[in-house]
């Protein structure tokens, strides 16, 4: 199982290294979302951790959904998903590898988004930002687990990207609330205790989405 997982992940990462399609699109989308939000908030937003945390998570969702859709849609070209299903790999392994590949692409774009956030929102560029990493990683994993599961079918449909957003965004709301709270607490320099509960909610939602995806993927990819 692990060999198959690594092989699939390697395949996706090689494709991404050669083309860089998903990462570049995610970075550009994140940049656009941040610019739009900064313009919409106005110049007085500089240094406000609540606004910055909100913007960070809006960028994560708005760039993550098309990114996941793009990654899953690649498997439909030449009916690659059927090819994968015909291989001896478990459907759950295919799902895990797709989630890992999308999550890695998103993590790279998240690093770029964080740098842009510091720049646009006039935040302090210090070690405090490192505390955002576990929060963002958990948020990214949840979004990838959910959007990869649902995107498996929506990417084959007309208006599939819109349907993916309509289905994923409400399910992601608990993670969004917890993520924004935790990020705002970190950016305002609050103690670790303020972040513990949101982190637990993020981890619980991630576990739920990953387990659901792991169990249900075979019915969608069939």
């Amino acid at each position: 199982m692990l060999t198959g997982f690594c092989a699939l992940l390697h395949k996706d990462l090689t494709l991404e290294r050669r083309g860089g399609r998903v990462v570049i699109e995610l970075c550009v989308l994140s940049l656009l979302v941040l610019v739009v939000l900064v313009v919409a908030y106005g110049p007085e937003t500089g240094g406000r951790p609540e606004s910055a945390a909100g913007a960070l998570w809006v960028a994560l969702i708005l760039s993550g959904l098309p990114g996941a859709s793009l990654a899953v849609a690649a498997e439909h070209e030449n009916d690659c998903l059927t090819g994968l299903r015909l291989s001896p790999l478990e459907p759950a392994t295919i799902y895990a590898a797709k989630v890992a590949a999308v999550a890695l692409s998103m993590a790279v774009s998240q690093a770029a988004t964080l740098l842009l956030l510091v720049l646009f929102f006039n935040l302090q560029f210090d070690l405090n930002l490192l505390r955002l990493i576990p929060i963002l990683l958990l948020g990214t994993l949840g979004l990838c687990a959910l959007s990869t599961l649902l995107g498996t079918i929506t990417s084959r449909l007309r208006a599939g990207e819109m349907l993916l957003a309509l289905l994923t965004a409400p399910l992601y709301v608990p993670e969004l609330i917890a993520g924004v709270k935790a990020s705002a607490a970190v950016l305002s320099g609050a103690s670790l205790a303020a972040v513990v509960l949101p982190l637990k909610i993020l981890a619980a939602c991630d576990l739920l989405f990953v387990v659901c995806g792991y169990l249900l993927f075979e019915y969608l990819a069939g």
Binding site: I153, L157, A159, L163, L167, L216, L220
Partner: protein, 236 residues
């Protein structure tokens, strides 16, 4: 004409709905602190119960559809989700009507209200998927998965008034564990309202299921006809 289960639901609804209206507006005493506005509670709670029942049934039918791949489970899941969505919308509307005079606002981002609204959004997505997606097995499978994942929000709604600080009243079972309806007539009225709304929703579900079953049968006949024509065209 052969009597059907749908006719039984309709008959029960015809008796119980007027009885519930009489009890809510005439029989039950007015609650002391909230006044006449509290009477909306006798519609609000049964609507919530029926909505949760509908969404629960949709998830169970979704799971059966994934395991057994029989069209009837998909039709049951779809019909149940539609009925659940109708009553969930009524829950949000009646809740807002009650909230304006009591809380002074139509809506607040309280934990129970937010989790209920998320449930409504999830099933709005489910119904849009059904409306916008093609009539095929893949969409039905995705809808089943969405119904199963979305139903996980219901336990969260139920326990939200105990998990988080909230202004939503806990009437049936209070936060201290007692039931909050002091007068027995209030409990009787709630019971009749529950039965009335349940009968009404069961009738609506039955009507919708019959329509969906007829539609599925039509698709099946069309598919068989197309296969027969293809075989006929290929014959020498």
């Amino acid at each position: 004409m052969r009597p059907s289960l749908g006719a039984a639901f309709a008959a029960a609804g015809c008796v119980l709905v007027p009885a519930a209206l009489f009890m809510v507006f005439v029989y039950v005493p007015t609650e002391a602190s909230q006044g006449i506005v509290q009477r909306i509670f006798y519609f609000h709670v049964p609507c919530a119960w029926v909505a949760f029942l509908g969404f629960g049934l949709s998830a169970v039918a979704g799971a059966f559809y994934l395991f057994f791949a029989q069209q009837v489970w998909d039709d049951i899941g779809y019909a149940a989700a539609e009925v659940g969505m109708l009553f969930c919308t009524l829950v949000l509307i009646t809740g807002s009507l009650w909230a304006k005079p009591i809380w002074g606002t139509w809506w607040t981002w309280d934990s129970r209200l937010t989790t209920t609204f998320i449930l409504w959004l999830l099933y709005a997505g489910y119904l849009l998927l059904r409306a916008m997606g093609e009539e095929n097995e893949q969409v039905a499978r995705l809808a089943a998965v969405v119904a199963i994942v979305a139903v996980l929000d219901i336990p969260l709604i139920v326990i939200s008034v105990r998990l988080w600080r909230t202004i939503h009243p806990a009437v049936l079972v209070t936060r201290s564990g007692e039931h909050g309806l002091e007068d027995p007539r209030m409990l009787q009225t709630l019971a009749v309202s529950m039965l009335a709304i349940s009968a009404l929703s069961a009738w609506l579900f039955w009507l919708r299921l019959k329509t969906l079953r007829a539609k599925s049968r039509l698709f099946e006949l069309r598919r068989m006809l197309a296969t027969a024509q293809a075989i006929g065209d290929g014959a020498p």
